[in-house]
Every structure is written in structure tokens, then in C-alpha cells.
């Protein structure tokens, strides 16, 4: 056997050994992956529980039935409440993770049979419940049995990858019996008496179309504290000056962004913004849930509590309308449209009831299914006016009032491959405002100021150059346009001047090329 053959044989053995290792290792890897996935699901479920447990105000006792054989003592009522709520937490965890070992701590008899059957059959189900209202019917003289009726809201759906399948929102009435076993209250029996969706009371806004068509507004970010920083470093004087400036620009509406989770003093800050708007005769469109992208059913109770918390502010006359979420369509690749539509539709109905205002979701382009829950639709466009026109016309097919809620044009002169000048911006504004007038659509420009400081969306440099006003507060030509001035299309020289920033680097590069070429020629000639 030659050396070559021996080498070939060795290599063949190595290859075969590698293939065998792969074939044996893949199942082990799959098993490890499956365990990791299961652990990750349980951790996710536990994270849902941590947030659930922090909720307040999700359960209340209505007056007890009269004629009780024994009055339910406060300490006993607290213990019953605790056992009942923790049971729902355990159920939500088991439904999502499939781990139902903890259920017997909170359920017995028929209720435990149901809980075990459901959690054995169902995996990755989302179940959220809130606004429990309990009425006590019976408290046993020996203090070991209670019977009550619970009315509560619930939302459920199956988490299929990102999709939320067969979602449901309804109000349920259930009779419950709990017994005090070995020092703990457990649910033993329950029976559903009623379970039906409750159609929201749909308010009508007959003047809305006219109000929206008259909107000439701006999306507002404070220079010293843009975006979320506005709510932690609020400067009332700065806001007052900025609102005065907005008024001087002949604008009548301001859009602000309210972050979620709600910062501690957010209601007071929103009140201060509304007070400033009132002083300067401006209307406000607050955009809620800024920064929220999860759309989990487990978040619904906290979000609904947030809406209730902001009710005094949202119902003020300075609020023109409420925008529930900015550009939720950007969240669709991660959260899926089924989930978005269900959660935002539910929240839109609740927001309308709570605030008494028209509600929208600030999508880039309207969604027909979601628009059934809205009072008007929005378009966000940073494209050419022709494309904006097409988006507006498409939005009109939904037969709801339309608002051009965001449009803008950056003035970053060195932005490759598309640098802009302030003259370009002014021309864009002229075209868009003319288009809006033709379409009888109100508009809000993005944004009031250039933002040299602070965090901006995606940390993109163009986001710092979208203002009507420069960072020092002076007006760009576009500001003149919105106050009634006129801009024309940029001339040829103006278009050429966009590339002015490249002249110097181009000259330097040319010089280097010339020097190198000269040197190379001399080198070759010498050779």
C-alpha cells in the first residue's frame, strides 16, 4: 500500500468519524435546545407573573349580601382575596408554560380538574383577567367556606409563534366557592353564569372631519429633553416658550408623546403641557404607549389602569383627539398584525370611553381591520409628495376622516446618498401643504426643532435635522412656508449645491490620485 493510499484512507476515516459525531450529536443538541426552550418559556411565563403581581386595583369587593350568618372579617377577606388572585397568577403561568405542578396549591375538586385539563391540553396560551368585582353571598359560621360571584373582564388567545390566534375579549360572571384547607383558601367549585363580549358604547363625533381638516400642527420634542426625557426632565418654562413659538408660526395643534410605562409624575406633566396649550390656544393630540412594542395580553390590565389614571387629563378640552400608539405598523414584524389589531382595537374602545375623545392609532398607513375601532385614520409620509398623495387617497377608501399626522424633510447637507438643503425642505413643505389643501386633510409637521442633543429614534443622524426651526431657534425657510410664505422648486444650481460638501473631499482624493499616478509612472519608467 503506497503512502498516498494510506493518507487517503486516513482522511476517509476522519471524514466518516466526523459524520458519525454529527449524527450522534444532533439529537443531543436537539434535546438541549428543547430543554433550553422550555426553560425560556417558563422564564417568560414567570416574567408575566412578576408584572401581574405588581398590579393594583384589579379586584374589588362590592357590598356583601345582607343577612350573612357571619360577618367576613377584614383579615379573612384579605386572605380569601390573596388566595383567589394568586390562583389566577398560577393559572396564567401554567397556561403559558405547561407546568401545572403548582395548581393544587390554589385549586381543588372540580376547579382543579378543570385547571389541570386546560393546562394539559393548552400550551403558550395567553390569558389576562382584570377588573374583578366580587359579591359575597355566604361566609360559613365556622369560617371555612365562602361563596361569591365574580364579574371580570378577560382576554385570551393562543400564542402561535408571533400570531395571536382565536383571540377573545369578554366579560364573565362566575359563581365561586372557596374553602379554607390546611391554612390556605382554595377554589373548589365554580360555574360560569354569563360570558359575552360587551359592545363598547360608540361615541359619535360629527364635527371631527372638519376639525381634522383644519389642523395645522407640529410634532413636538423639547430641545433640552427630547422624546422620553421630556417626562423626566420637564422644563415648564421651555415648553411655554416653545408653545408660544408654535403659535407664532400660525399653528394650532401640537402632538406630544407619552411613554409607557408611565413615568411617576406623568399625569402632572401632561397637565402642565395641557395648561401651556390652553395659554397659547393650542390643541393637543397626545400619543400614548410610546416605546411599547410587546402587545402581550398580560400587559392589558396595567395599560387599562394607565388609561384610567390619565382620564382626567385625556378628557380635558385642550385634547383634540387621542392617538393610541405611534407607528404600530413598525411593530408588526415582531408582534404580528393579529396581536396588534386585537390589543389596539380593545384599547381604542376603552380609551374612547374613558376620555370621551376621538381615537386613532398613528399608523404609517391605515389598516382596514383596525380602522373599524377608530374614529379617524392617519398617514405618516416622508416620501415625495406624489407618494404621499397616493397614500392619502388609499386611506380615503376606508371612509373615515384622514389626518396627515407626520410629514417632514431633513436638512442634513452631508447625508449620503441623499443630502438636502433647507431650500429643498421648504419646497417639500410647499408641495405637501398644497397637496393637503387639495385633499382637505389636516397635517402635522415633523418636527418643531432640530435636535442636536439627546436620544433620537434609531440614533439616526437625519432625525436631528428634521426641524422647522434650527437648534438655535431661528427659522428655516420651511417655517416661512407654513406661516403663509411661498417656496419654489430648487433651481439647478441649488440642486447642485447639495453636493457642495463633497467638493473638498473630492479635491483631496483627486490630488492623492494624481500624486500616486505620477509616482507610479516614474517608478515604472525607472524600472
Amino acid at each position: 500500500m503506497t503512502l498516498t493510499r494510506i493518507k487517503q484512507l486516513c482522511w476517509l476515516l476522519i471524514v466518516l468519524g466526523f459524520i458519525a459525531a454529527v449524527l450522534m450529536g444532533l439529537p443531543l443538541l436537539g434535546n438541549a435546545f428543547s430543554r433550553a426552550e422550555s426553560t425560556q418559556i417558563q422564564n417568560s411565563a414567570l416574567n408575566l407573573l412578576t408584572e401581574r403581581h405588581a398590579e393594583k386595583g384589579s379586584l374589588m369587593w362590592l357590598p356583601d349580601d345582607p343577612g350573612q350568618p357571619r360577618v367576613l372579617e377584614d383579615f379573612a377577606r384579605d386572605a380569601v382575596t390573596s388566595g383567589y388572585r394568586r390562583g389566577y397568577e398560577e393559572l396564567a403561568y401554567a397556561l403559558y408554560s405547561g407546568d401545572h405542578s403548582g395548581l393544587p396549591s390554589y385549586y381543588q375538586e372540580g376547579a382543579l380538574s378543570d385547571a389541570q385539563l386546560v393546562t394539559a391540553q393548552t400550551r403558550l396560551a395567553e390569558f389576562a383577567d382584570w377588573d374583578h368585582r366580587l359579591t359575597l353571598h355566604f361566609y360559613a359560621p365556622d369560617g371555612a367556606t365562602v361563596s361569591f360571584t365574580d364579574q371580570y373582564w378577560y382576554a385570551q388567545g393562543e400564542d402561535e409563534g408571533k400570531r395571536l390566534t382565536i383571540p377573545r375579549l369578554a366579560r364573565r360572571t362566575v359563581d365561586v366557592v372557596m374553602a379554607f384547607d390546611d391554612g390556605n383558601w382554595r377554589v373548589h367549585h365554580w360555574r360560569v353564569l354569563a360570558d359575552a363580549p360587551v359592545a363598547p358604547v360608540r361615541l359619535r363625533f360629527p364635527a371631527l372631519a372638519g376639525q381634522l381638516a383644519r389642523i395645522r400642527g407640529v410634532n413636538y420634542e423639547a430641545r433640552s429633553a427630547p422624546f422620553a426625557a421630556l417626562w423626566t426632565k420637564f422644563d415648564a418654562d421651555e415648553v411655554d416658550r416653545d408653545f408660544a413659538q408654535i403659535r407664532r408660526l400660525s399653528l394650532n395643534t401640537v402632538r406630544v408623546f407619552v411613554p409607557y410605562p408611565l413615568p411617576k409624575d406623568a399625569p402632572d406633566t401632561l397637565n402642565a403641557l395641557l395648561d401651556a396649550a390652553a395659554r397659547h390656544e393650542l390643541k393637543i393630540i397626545p400619543t400614548l404607549l410610546d416605546g411599547y412594542t410587546a402587545y402581550r395580553l398580560a400587559d392589558l390590565p396595567r395599560i387599562l389602569t394607565m388609561l384610567d389614571t390619565l382620564q382626567p387629563q385625556l378628557s380635558r378640552p385642550e385634547v383634540l383627539a387621542v392617538d393610541l400608539k405611534n407607528e404600530a405598523d413598525l411593530d408588526a414584524p415582531k408582534a404580528d398584525w393579529t396581536r396588534l389589531r386585537f390589543v389596539l382595537g380593545l384599547l381604542a374602545d376603552h380609551t374612547r370611553t374613558v376620555s370621551g375623545k376621538a381615537v386613532t392609532v398613528g399608523l404609517i398607513a391605515p389598516d382596514p381591520a383596525l380602522s373599524q375601532h377608530l374614529d379617524f385614520v392617519t398617514v405618516h409620509s416622508y416620501a415625495a409628495p406624489g407618494q404621499t398623495a397616493a397614500m392619502l387617497q388609499s386611506a380615503r377608501t376606508l371612509r373615515l376622516p384622514v389626518l396627515l399626522e407626520e410629514f417632514g424633510y431633513h436638512t442634513q447637507t452631508n447625508k449620503l446618498p441623499d443630502p438636502h438643503t433647507e431650500a429643498d425642505q421648504a419646497w417639500h413643505y410647499q408641495q405637501t401643504i398644497d397637496l393637503s389643501a387639495r385633499e382637505r386633510v389636516g397635517w402635522l409637521a415633523w418636527t418643531l426643532f432640530d435636535l442636536p442633543n439627546g436620544a433620537v429614534p434609531g440614533n439616526r443622524s437625519v432625525e436631528r435635522h428634521l426641524g422647522l426651526l434650527r437648534a438655535d431657534g431661528t427659522a428655516k425657510p420651511a417655517a416661512v412656508v407654513i406661516t403663509g410664505g411661498h417656496a419654489s422648486a430648487p433651481s439647478g444650481s441649488e440642486r447642485l449645491s447639495r453636493w457642495r460638501f463633497l467638493w473638498r473631499p473630492a479635491l483631496v482624493l483627486l490630488l492623492i490620485v494624481v500624486v500616486l499616478t505620477t509616482w507610479w509612472r516614474r517608478y515604472r519608467n525607472r524600472a
Partner: protein, 421 residues
Amino acid sequence: MKRVRARASRIRPRRAVFLLLALLLLVAAGLAWRSRHAPAAALPSFAAPTLKVTPDATGVTFRFSAAAGNRLPAGVPLRVVLSTPAGPLLRQALSGSGGASVRIPYVRAGLTVYDALIGPHSYHGQWRRLPGSAVTPLQPKVGARAVRVVGDPPPALVLHPQDAQQNVSDQPVTVRARQPDSSEWTRQLSVKHLLAWSFLPVGTRTGTLEVAVSAGQAYGERAEVDLLPGPAAQASVSARRTSAPASGRDPWQLDVSNLKDRLGNRILDGTSVAIGSSEAGLISPLNFSVTRPSAGGNVLLEWPAAPQPGQYRLTARSGGASSSTVNLTSTTPLDVPELPVRRSGTTLLIGPVLTALGALPDDGTPVAVRFLAADGRVVRDDTTFLTAGQVRYTLPALPPDTVSAEVRLGGQVSRLRLGEP
């Protein structure tokens, strides 16, 4: 040339192996990618099938049948979700040719809402399951296990009659109770909010209350409640021995009896009875109280008479009951008309001592001996004891200023100057 050829022959096999390896990996990756991204087989469109929902004793069946004149293709995914108080119950399956069915063993009584999805067709509906007849054994809960016939709230019965699927039945419940005096009590209870309950009558006699429940053809075990007497409402006290000497030799004997509650039931054994002195019409105060448990409605108490001779009054109390007062006498412990004492060297000779009756006092009767200085100051106290009516007391070492000794017994005092022989 040979070297070049040799080099070429060394390179080629290695290259071939690498190429083979790379090819194998590519093929594997390609297969894996294809399996993940294989386009889903497009289902043929079909008309919405009819759905029949059939609840029965052990669950519910969802049956999809092809609409008239149409086909239901096989392999169509279907899912059914029940909205239960425990959350969404999901079942999935694939259709067979011509139909599909899903069975879910959900048996909870009450309203159940369902959503079903087969292909692009969705269905929504609900059904209301009624609970079945109650089954044996019923499990009555009676609280408390023991109650007093006077003063305590009555015991209560709570029952959740259940059918075979652990649903609380709506059947009325019959409760029968038998009291210790054999009188019976029957009541029919309706089930409301998943339970039936009632207070149980305790009557007036102590003993065992027996309770039985039934619902249709279902029965439960007997429950029992101990009916106990109430707190004492009456008590009598008498003395078997009303006079005793203060020496404690023959004690007083008290008998507290007739301890009964308001209904005439003897109080519970072990109930505490407090006996103490009564201040009313007092001749001599007595700092005395004692607590004893009763047995059979009685308390018998013996204790030494008061050390100070005199008349005393005592009363017995238990619960809200207080007895009348009993008079007791403590007599002089020892009646000695004479106490002879003389000195013999370093010994004091005490006695012979006789009682007034002419009898020797008991051996061990204590005799107090006290030594005094000239100014009356007590320099030493001592006690010695009679034996056959006498004591030979050896004088201890005494301070030089000791001038006299006193001997006391039974109220008699004899003094002796120590300077005398």
C-alpha cells in the same frame, strides 16, 4: 519534474477529501433549509362545513360535516377553543376525508363558549350544561364539632352535593338531626351559589347531636356534634367539717355541689371553681383563694384551718354562678393550762406538758424558744419539739447580754431568767 509530480500527488487526495467534506455539508445544509422553508401545501378551497356540537355526560364532541354537495378535504387543520374559567382549552386535529371531529372531556356545568376554526371557516357558539343528580357519598361539613347548649351560636351545616363529574348538583338537600332527647328535626335546603346550608338546632339537653343528609338517592355519613353544658349558673356549698384546730391537724372540708348551667345541665368536668374568703360580716380576715376543677358537678376541698383561731366565711364561684356563704371556725390548736420550764445546767427542761383534757400533746408538737437581752431585744429564736410531753433543750451559745428565755406553747408563755440555776 518528478518532484513536481510527487507534489501534485500529495496535494490531490487532500483536496479531494476537503471537496467531499464541503459537498457533504452543503447537501446537509440544503436539506435542512429546504425542510424549514418548504412551502405549505396549499389546501383546496372548500365550502364551510356544518358543525354539530354534542355535549354528553363525559365531554363534548364537535363534528364537522361537509356541506351538502361539497367535499371536505382531508388534512385540513382544525382547532377548537373552549373559554373556561380555567382559561382557554385548545384542541387541534386534522380532518379526515369527508368529515372531522374533536372530542373534549370538559364536563363543567354552566355556560361554555366555544370558537372553532377549520381552514378559513370560523364558528362561534355556546352551550349550557346542567349539573346531574347528586351521587353518594355526600360530604356534609358541620362546624363546630362541639357547642354549648347555652351561650354559643348553633352549629351550621354546609354541603356541596356533587354529581359524578364534580359539578355541584342543584338537587334539594334533606337534613335530619336527632337531639340527645331523641327529638328529630328535618329541613329541606335548596342549593344556591353552589352550596346548601343551615343552622342546626341544639335543644336543651347535653349529649350528641346526630346529623344525616340526603339528596335524591345520594347519602352521606352521619355527622355528630357534641352538645356541651353551658357555663355554671348555680352552685351550692356546704362544709362537712366546719370547725378545725388552727394547728392544721384536722382540716376544714368543703363540698361545692349542684354546679349546673341555666338549663339544669351539669357543667362540664374540669370547669374551674374558685373558692375564696368572703369579706361580708367578717370577724377575722382570711387571705385565701383556691381554684379547683369540677368533676361530676362537684368539688371537694380539704385544707388546714386558718392559723389564727377565729370565724371565717367562704364562697364558691364558677362562671356566672356564686354560691351562698359558709361559716368556718378555726379553734385554738392546743389547750395547755400549764407550761413548766426549769433550767438544769446547760439544759432547759420543758414539761411535762398536759392538755386541758389531761392528755399528752402529740409528739412533734413545736415549742417556740426565744432568748432576750436586758432591753427586750430578741437575740435568738428557736423551735424545738415535744416528745412524750417533754423537751430537753440544750442551751446554745448565747451573747453575754442574754438575760432571759421565753418558752411558748398552745397560748401559754413561760419565762426564765438565765442567771438563775
